[in-house]
Amino acid sequence: MPIYNAPLLAIDAQETKRYAGLMKARDFAAEKILEACDNARLLAQPRGIWEIYDYDCQAQMIKSQPSCQLQGKKIGQHLAGCEKIIALSVTIGEDVEDDISARFKDGEYTLALLMDAAATAAVEQIADGMEKALAPKMAAQGFAMKWRFSPGYGDWPLEQQPELLRLAQADKIGVSLTTSLMLLPRKSITAIIGLYRKQENSVPSHQPENCALCSQKNCPARKV
């Protein structure tokens, strides 16, 4: 159950803009976005945890104790050819959301919305940071990493969220689920990364296509 709390020296302003639905907006004040990024960064408490398991891609079975059968065609396709998987969870804690709610109450709507977007960008960065820390470890053993896949992507049912939290031991970093399967704190991520043996001259398939998979066609943050 290794812990890795990636440092957060800056929150990506461009991603924050995207999550705020400002992709196509011209002349939106850049300093407002930077202020939101700084505010979110001060309140973020990045934490992360991961665990590696053997994986049987024929049976879509994670060989944990007890084992875990993955449901859904998409996740099965995504992990085809993988020998192992990494179950991971990251969060930036609850302080950011508390502050965002307080700001909404105080009428600072814009900053609150932008901070929410910055917090989303931040938690993605923390997950990226964890992947970055894992990649060389895996590469040294001859493994390449698939991109992160989370419950709710494609047809992977949210109902497997509790299993994933168990596999990643997410409770150790304070991540839990509501009865309706929502992550707490809200700005948290759970995901699986498939590990496959790198072939000679193989092209890495590490390009995420998360937006393409999502059914929210009108999402303001959707990448075209």
């Binding site: 705020a20 700084d38 814009t110 001859g142 309706s180 809200r186 790198k198």
Partner: protein, 792 residues
């Protein structure tokens, strides 16, 4: 550095070939199958290795825990050294290998610095006691783990310590440390040889070796992989063959490394070719590095030097005289401290001074926490500002870089306690010419005291490059020669020592009026006299302006290029923004201000309109509501985006507040009452908050029940408040079903309120089937729909 040493190559793969089973502890072979290990050593020595590594990479107590072998730690390490020595029979030296724990040290991970230290101390002691010639700490990716291991190794024995980090393709360790920062820090901490191994092949390591060699005077070691492994015909292979590997060895030698060997994927053949290729090659020409004052954070190195532009040391993380910050620190909150860190760096600070001097708290704990958190937030190197030796050590231990100690005076306890800590942790010191008798008045006396401090520091093993000299600023209103003595002191520091200089500036003007003028004038004089790194408030505009001008005058900013750019900005025409609106009618101006989100401007416009005799209702309808209608159209057409709409809502709010303030009697007509909630089980309230904000500022009375709200509570609030509309929000399919329940309960309770629903997973179809009166895909549409619903 007098000759080339050849390290051996990979151990793990050789052990597997010798019968190590997958999942078994490799170090157990040292006692259960010592001949296999010995034969590997022999093969490498015969191939030309002059240093062999013991089979102890994973033999630290924490690593052995995986196999339940912690209690055999000493035995396994002792046996490993004995086997290596037997194999070498004097033909090669033996390096005791210490690999990482596999866990990250706090705050990146859950391993405490002390636990890491104890782990490496035990192993280092065992290896040294068994007769190892070197210790090699290798494959580390977390500089804190390396620091703990190096401190432990130095404390456990007196044999030379080799420190090797692993870098990724971006030239940094995965935790962000670059080879320059690593070389400076590890050199200062007393590493004997600094290097790199694993992760990359020799080609990628050439620039890293170069950077290491340029940033320290230690010998450099490099043990590359034979390229990156991949699967070929069902087997993991490393692509680089022995001959290529050997040729790259020559390039690595030229780049500055004199200790050369191999890591993953290398074999005795690789080492043979390497030894052959570098034999007889000239030793690398390394320029002896002049010792300059470098400080580092986890991911950045900063130099303070008379040849370089001025470096600002931000002074704001200091609770002295700041009640709010002091109270926060006392309560254990670091939010204010963290804000100061981020804002000072943004304002141009290159380093940050950290002072946690609040009475009645555990100084050491406070410093440790502050240093840890600030170091996670910014890459500006830190100065640890304390008079408490325990707090100093706590801060130094927690800091993943080379810190500056603020400060060492010529007072017995500082000399006795602070200097050994500086040496141990590789910190630089800010030298303050104060004696137990007080502050020496003249420059000549200050120089004398400074000589004594430097001599005492050098006695402790500190050296050029470790010192920052404080010129000591006194108050000119109490001592007319205070400024003059500082200027002379600065000049003499430069002439007599050549070390960089610092000082806190603002003391000079104490007791005088218009202090900023005195401060900035004094600052300019000091910069000319040789001040390199002022400790100051980086938010102070007059000081920043002085610095900018001085940089142009003193050639730090050649030909004033940066100055020209900046001065042009300062001269930007003002008032253009206000000019355009004056041409509009008062109502049109308010409307435009709302659309543009000019929330600071709108209260004045509203006030002017009221003064001009336009009544509140007209303003509301013809300016504010009209603006919202236009915004709705632009939003729907994709010309305006949510944050901009919210900015307009804030502007509406400011306008309404002004109207209420100036015409308290004029009851602005309410559109209706909306009870809004995110349904039970759902904790996502962003969409609900946005919709609520827009409704509240479009004339609706809003009752926001929050998130995760039970149906009974919603029904109760709707009835009690005689709600016209109930707004329900659900994000996911798992919580959407609650909408049905609330609608049913509202009906059962006889509540006549219209129901409007929304949320990411909710659709028009779903809304219809649940019996909702309206479905709002977004907040803007919700306002429009709400207006229609109340008319029905």
């Amino acid at each position: 550095m007098s000759k080339i040493e050849i390290f051996d190559g990979a151990m793990g793969t050789m052990l597997q070939a010798g019968g190590l089973q997958p999942g078994a502890c490799p170090e157990l072979m040292n006692v259960e199958n010592p001949d296999v290990v010995k034969n590997i050593h022999r093969a490498y020595i015969e191939a030309g290795a002059t240093i062999i590594e013991t089979n102890t990479f994973g033999a630290s107590p924490l690593k052995l825990e995986h196999y339940g072998l912690t209690d055999r730690m000493a035995e396994l390490n002792t046996a490993a050294v004995a086997i290596a020595k037997e194999a070498a029979r004097g033909r090669a030296k033996v390096a005791g290998s210490m690999g990482p724990t596999g866990r990250f040290v706090e705050p990146l991970g859950d391993l405490s610095f002390d636990e890491a230290y104890d782990n490496f101390f035990a192993q280092a002691q065992a290896l040294a006691a068994a007769g190892a010639d070197y210790l090699i700490i290798e494959t580390c990716i977390d500089i804190q783990e390396m620091r703990a291991a190096l401190l432990a190794a130095k404390a456990a024995c007196n044999i030379p310590v080799i420190c090797q980090l692993s870098y990724s393709e971006d030239g940094r360790t995965v935790t962000g440390t670059d080879p320059q920062a690593a070389a400076i820090l590890l050199d200062a901490m007393g590493a004997d040889i600094i290097g790199v191994n694993c992760s990359l092949g020799p080609e990628e390591l050439v620039p890293i070796v170069k950077t290491l060699a340029e940033n320290c005077n230690c010998p450099i070691s490099v043990l590359p992989n034979a390229g990156m492994p991949y699967l070929k015909d069902g087997e993991t292979v490393f692509p680089m063959g022995p001959a290529d590997f050997g040729q790259w060895g020559v390039k690595l030698l030229e780049a500055g490394a004199t200790y050369l060997g191999g890591c993953c994927g290398t074999t005795p053949e690789h080492i043979r070719e390497l030894a052959k290729a570098v034999k007889g090659q000239p030793l690398p020409k390394r320029k002896k590095q002049a010792k300059k004052l470098w400080l580092t954070s986890r991911s950045k190195a900063v130099c303070i030097d008379k040849e370089l532009p001025t470096r600002l040391i931000g002074e704001r993380i200091n609770p002295t005289g700041r009640k709010k910050l002091a109270a926060e620190i006392r309560e254990g909150s670091l939010l204010g401290v963290k804000k100061e860190a981020v804002n000072q760096v943004k304002a141009g600070a290159h380093l940050l001074d950290v002072n946690m001097g609040v009475g009645g708290i555990d100084q050491a704990a406070a410093m440790q926490k502050a240093i840890t958190e600030i170091a996670q937030l910014t890459d500006a190197p830190l100065a640890i500002d304390t008079s408490d030796a325990q707090a100093l050590e706590a801060g130094l231990k927690a800091y993943p870089g080379r810190a500056l100690i603020n400060s060492v005076s010529y007072e017995p306890e500082r000399i006795a306690e602070f200097l050994p800590l500086a040496k141990k942790y590789g910190a630089a010191i800010l030298c303050l010419p104060i004696t137990p008798d007080g502050v020496p008045k003249t420059a000549e006396e200050r120089i004398d005291v400074m000589h004594k401090i430097i001599a005492a520091a050098k006695e402790q093993g500190l050296d050029d490059g470790d010192f920052l000299l404080d010129a000591l600023v006194m108050t000119v209103s109490a001592d007319k020669s205070a400024c003059y003595e500082v200027l002379i002191t600065l000049q003499m520091y430069r002439e007599r020592f050549g070390y960089p200089t610092t000082m806190g500036l603002s003391n000079i003007s104490f007791g005088l009026p218009n202090r900023p003028l005195i401060n900035s004038t004094f600052f300019a004089m000091c910069l000319a006299a040789g001040l390199d790194a002022p400790i100051m408030n980086p938010y102070d505009e007059s000081m920043q302006n002085t610095l900018m001008a001085a940089a142009a005058l003193l050639a730090d900013d050649p030909n004033g290029l940066a100055y020209s750019k900046n001065a042009a900005n300062l001269a930007a025409p003002k008032g253009a923004a206000t000019a355009k609106v004056t041409e509009l009618t008062p109502l049109a101006a308010i409307k435009q201000a709302v659309i543009d989100g000019e929330k600071d401007e709108v209260p004045i416009l509203v006030e002017n309109a009221l003064k001009a005799g336009i009544d509140a209702n007209t303003i509301t309808e013809q300016a504010l509501t009209a603006a919202m209608t236009d915004i709705g159209v632009d939003f729907g057409a994709g010309r305006m985006f949510l944050p901009q709409v919210l900015l307009s809502a804030e502007t509406m709010r400011a306008a309404f507040n002004k109207i209420k303030e100036l015409t308290p009697v004029s009851q602005s007509p309410e559109q209706g009452t909306v009870v809004i909630a995110t349904v039970k089980g759902d904790v996502h309230d962003l969409g609900k908050n946005i919709t609520g904000a827009l409704l509240a500022n479009s004339g609706f009375k809003l009752i926001d029940l929050g998130k995760d709200v039970d149906s009974t509570e919603i029904v109760k609030a709707a009835i009690e408040n005689k709600a016209d509309i109930v707004g329900l929000c659900a994000l996911m399919t798992t919580t959407m079903v609650q909408i049905d329940k609330v609608i049913e309960d509202l009906k059962t309770a006889g509540c006549a309120a219209k129901v409007m629903v929304g949320g990411a997973a909710v659709t028009q179809e779903y809304a219809d089937s649940a019996g909702a009166d309206a479905y709002a895909p977004d907040g803007v549409k919700a306002v429009e729909l709400a207006k229609e619903l109340v008319k029905k």
